[in-house]
């Protein structure tokens, strides 16, 4: 086995290659904008160049004169359609063509549709808008922001968690820190650009668009278009980079659907990379104040985390990572508060581990500062503060293997060789620094439906309206069926990414593997029960035995005793050619409406900190080595090691790949990624991959992922904790700690850049 396919340990599944790997690397996987569509017309967006004001006039003559132009959809043309709604399925409540008000830079002002992509682009560039401009508010510290308390503004963020008397404990603490941290604006830049293709078949609408939430979108799009959801179909077989960007539907989808209806032919609109900065969601900038008080023994007695997050004027998008940071360690007392700061910006949205990435960055950078203040090894400091129960509700953790993660990662990294003295480690002209941080992510699960069919000749089809966003969910769902039905993976086909399939929840919050596998498991077990019942019935080959003693293997029902019967023969007795089961999985604690809500595209999430019996989190520990040039101060990361425990690992290959990708992104968050906002105009400046930096291959050297075995029966029937969003939590803090160790400079504002280290 090579590094990409780690040998499975206890409670870990085989590193099967992805079932769609060949399709992907040979270019045969059709992403939504690649799906062959006849008689296509092409759409291109025109967007505003101001962030606040009104469009007073649109001059369309030049655009209309472009040869091949077919239509322009703009103000007035969406009046018969309802405005979008902001929520899980909707990116914003702004209906850009419903209203001439401009709420943000890059807001859609028209869609030009033409016979060719080039003509559409040209026409869009020739659409001239006149504006009544107002001075916009760009961000924190800009005049005109409005600050509101976040608690209760989102169903995902109900309260500011607290415990004990923070003020008293902090006042009394022997050692304390009080520091501020910040994270920058970050934009989704998947290589697959955002796109919508829409066409009508009579009164049926079909939309091809990369989506993490086909069921939610079907319902929301039908609402906007005043249609029966049964007449709307969202198709998204492959998604090239999602990470939350393709979770909520944007206003573009309905606009393209309207254009297709007006023209009576399919319309495809692929937004440019520049336009995506204003028309899609993104991670807004955050600020943090953290206070930690501890005794000389290193035990934390007081922890306060205040957060500020930018959002748009019309929509209160909440990140709210304090529910995780407030439960991370065994603090004596906890005080948290999250505020939303409204500015003239587009509505932010989910980006990989939306709450944890910024909030845990702040916490973990502070933890390292605290370890320094205490004169304590940062790993030891975490060990000392390992809790028995979480500090807010005093509930147990369903499982918590943080210290095992620290121990295994530290050993692999060689932490023992670190000289704790700042600036003490050198390699020629390079200063060497080492740092570490904790990763945490709530283990949630949601209702999910799946249909599984086993044929008498041993073929299996799994159908589930979940989404292959690159995680390998098709493969692991197939593995689950393979294991339960005793059928080799190459006899299993898995269909996903179509709202015509049994509904699955949004592929967000790292719930997919747990939710989908639990539903597939349930459907498979129903097939097993039918087969076992038939096989043991009067006159059948295994008559007289008990169900529990059977398993399915290689097309046979095998009893513990060794007796067996071919599935094919049992189906003959049953007089069926296939058994198909439709299963609806609802997690423990689900409300009576939970399944109804799944079909309505508004699934409930359970787990994390929401359950009565315990809190459920996956944990990890990351160690980073940095090198900083003595003269020029550029920062390089030659080594990174992460150890993670996340319950049952379905497939060590896909799990490692997720965690590795997360760690790489974390390095990018530490050192590269930031959208620059021109504060005068509230406009994004670096809207392309030349200036919006992410790590390239040369930036990533020695990277090691350790999968720490963990068994957790409480999380969900599949025993799986999501890990898709775990890997990039904490990484940036580990880098910041390593930079401090190398240079003695504590950088609290991301990204860490050369200029911060020059002085």
């Amino acid at each position: 086995m090579d590094a990409a396919a780690p040998r499975p340990k206890e409670n870990q599944g085989e590193p099967l290659p992805r079932v769609d790997a060949r399709l992907k690397v040979t270019g045969q996987a059709h992403y939504p904008a690649d799906l062959p569509t006849a008689n296509l017309a092409y759409g291109a967006l025109a967007t505003s160049r101001i962030a606040k004001g009104r469009v007073t006039k649109l001059r369309l003559d030049d655009a209309r004169a472009v040869p091949g132009l077919l239509d322009i959809v703009t103000y007035g043309d969406m009046d018969k359609v309802d405005k979008p709604k902001f929520g899980n399925s909707g990116a914003t409540s702004i209906g850009p063509l419903h209203d001439r008000t401009i709420f943000h830079d890059g807001q859609i002002i028209a869609l030009a549709v033409a016979e060719t992509f080039e003509a559409a682009e040209e026409a869009a560039q020739l659409i001239r808008a006149e504006y009544e401009e107002e001075k916009p508010t760009a961000s924190f510290d800009s005049p005109g922001t409005k600050t509101v308390a976040a608690a209760g503004k989102s169903p995902m963020f109900k309260e500011d968690v607290k415990a004990g008397d923070f003020d008293a404990a902090f006042a009394a603490a022997a050692v304390k820190i009080d520091q501020r941290y910040s994270t920058p604006t970050q934009h989704h830049n998947p290589i697959e650009l955002f796109s919508t293709t829409a066409y009508w078949q009579g009164d049926q609408l079909v939309v091809h668009e990369p989506s993490q939430n086909v069921t939610g979108w079907k319902v929301e799009l039908a609402r906007q278009l005043k249609m029966d959801p049964a007449n709307v179909r969202i198709v998204s077989p492959f998604i090239g980079g999602a990470f939350g960007s393709k979770g909520p539907m944007t206003p573009r989808t309905a606009i393209v659907a309207v254009a297709a209806k007006r023209l009576g032919r399919p319309v495809r609109c692929v937004t440019s990379r520049m336009q995506a900065f204003g028309t899609q969601t993104y991670r807004a900038e955050t600020r943090h104040r953290i206070r930690i008080g501890a005794g000389k023994d290193g035990r934390i007695t007081a922890f306060a985390h205040e957060g500020w997050e930018v959002t748009s004027r019309p929509d209160l998008y909440v990140v709210g990572g304090t529910s995780a940071t407030g439960r991370m360690y065994g603090y004596g007392s906890v005080l948290t508060h999250v505020s939303l700061v409204q500015a003239d910006r587009n509505t932010p949205g989910y980006m990989r581990s939306p709450p944890e990435t910024p909030y845990v960055y702040a916490l973990e950078n502070a933890m390292d500062e605290m370890a320094v203040a205490l004169g304590m090894d940062p790993v030891e400091f975490r060990r000392i503060n390992e809790p028995k129960t979480e500090p807010i509700g005093k509930k147990p953790f369903s499982s918590r293997s943080l210290i095992q993660c620290y121990d295994q990662a530290a050993a692999a990294f060689g932490w023992a060789k670190r000289d704790p003295k700042v600036g003490a480690m050198r390699d020629g002209d390079w200063l060497v620094g080492m740092g570490c941080a904790t990763a945490i992510y709530p283990s949630a699960v949601a209702p999910c439906a799946a249909r599984v069919r086993l044929t008498s000749d041993g073929e299996v089809r799994v159908q589930c309206g979940s989404h292959e966003i690159g995680t390998g969910i098709r493969t692991v769902a197939g593995q689950m069926a393979s294991e339960r039905l005793g059928v080799a993976i190459d006899k299993i086909s898995v269909e996903m990414g179509d709202s015509g399939l049994p509904p699955a929840p949004v592929s967000g919050g790292s719930i997919s593997t747990a939710s989908v596998c639990s539903a597939v498991l349930k459907a498979c077990d129903a097939i097993r029960s039918k087969l076992f019942a038939a096989a043991t019935a009067e006159g059948s080959p295994l008559a007289g035995s008990h169900n529990e003693e059977f398993d399915l293997a290689d097309g046979k029902i095998v009893a513990k005793s060794g007796a067996s019967a071919k599935v094919e023969d049992v189906m003959k007795i049953m007089q069926v050619g296939a058994i198909e089961e439709y299963a609806e999985f609802a997690p423990k604690g689900a409300t009576p409406e939970a399944l109804k809500k799944l079909y309505a595209g508004t699934p409930e999430f359970h787990g994390g900190e929401q359950d009565e019996d315990s809190v459920k989190y996956a944990f990890g520990a990351e160690f980073v080595e940095v090198r900083i040039n003595r003269y020029t101060r550029e920062i390089r990361v030659p080594r990174i090691v992460g150890a993670f425990a996340a319950g049952r690992i379905m497939n060590t290959r896909t799990a490692r790949s997720q965690l590795m990708g997360g760690m790489i992104w974390g390095i990018g968050q530490a050192l590269h990624e930031a959208t620059e906002v021109d504060r005068r105009y509230a406009r994004y400046v670096n809207r392309d991959l030349q200036d919006y930096l992410v790590p390239v291959n040369a930036d990533i050297k020695d990277l090691q992922v350790i999968l720490v075995p963990e068994v957790d029966h409480a999380v969900n029937p599949a025993g799986v904790k999501g890990l898709g969003e775990l890997g990039n939590v904490g990484t940036a803090a580990a880098v910041a700690s390593a930079v401090y160790h190398a240079t003695g400079k504590r950088i609290r504002d991301l990204p860490i850049r050369i200029e911060q280290l020059l002085a």
Binding site: E122, D429, T632, V685, R687, D691, P695, A698, D699
Partner: protein, 340 residues
Amino acid sequence: MRPFVYEQPTDISTAVAIASRFATDDDQPTRANAQFIAGGTNLADYMKLGVAEPNHLLDLNQLKEAALRQIQVTDGGIRFGALVRMGEAADHAEVNRRYPVIADSLRLAASGQIRNMASLAGNVLQRTRCEYFRETSWQCNKRVPGSGCAAMDGFNRQHAVLGVSDACIATYHGDFAQALIALDAVVHAEGGHGARKIPFAKLHRQPRDTPHVETDLAAEEIITAIEVPAIPWARRSLYLKIRDRESYAFALASAAVALDLDGETVREARIALGGVATVPWRAGAAEEALQGKKLDEASAGAAADAAFAGAHPRQHNAFKIELGKRTLVRALLETRDMKV
């Protein structure tokens, strides 16, 4: 994207003749009706963005003159044909042996794919990546003369501190040009008035109050070759490029250095600075400061101070002065320590 006529002239004089037909005397190459395209990695990008708007595109890749695609090593130095690709020049054994600074500057630029597409003449003529220039909704004196400069008080971390004017502070981002200007390269061009040679240092123009005038070339003039003189001691030379990530990024600061040493004493130094200036930047004051001196951290530091004596920072790029100095110091010491 606007429609345009695409032509593939097959010899230099025809290409010049076609271009002349569309050009007026004071036409800038970057604003002319007819423009040349080589690798297209810069021009096609700017056409898509609506920054460049030629109505006629003259593709140079079918020109039949063989020398355009050749690297010729002569007693007098090395002559690079204008259409030689960056990747080819970077890998050329004699270039690596004689002028490490040239090979480095090409190897550290862009990505493998771009280096395989991009020509050497196109490379030296690449236009700035100023974010406000790249996007037509901003005010930009270089793109629309007299419209103002959005970068001046905007987000200008990338921008230049040397050779700036009140009209424009856009950085010249190319790497290869720094090696060329340090080595006193000469540009061969052919135009409506015949062939001529241009000292590389005269090719680019500082922005002053006409930032849209970027080079000394006439609209119909084609660069045919770049010649680098023989400098035996240039084997002790290197290009150091400092950037936010390890590859595929433009320089925040860079230094092209070649040294003629007598023991540790500098007989002659050649220094150019990238990432910090509006044009390829020869640091003459730094060269003078080093002449006849023992090269150590102190003398290198003094040279670096001299190089940045006239620097003008704006809000977000002040760090480039300190970074530029340190880059030069490091480059000088690393060049001194080269085993040649």
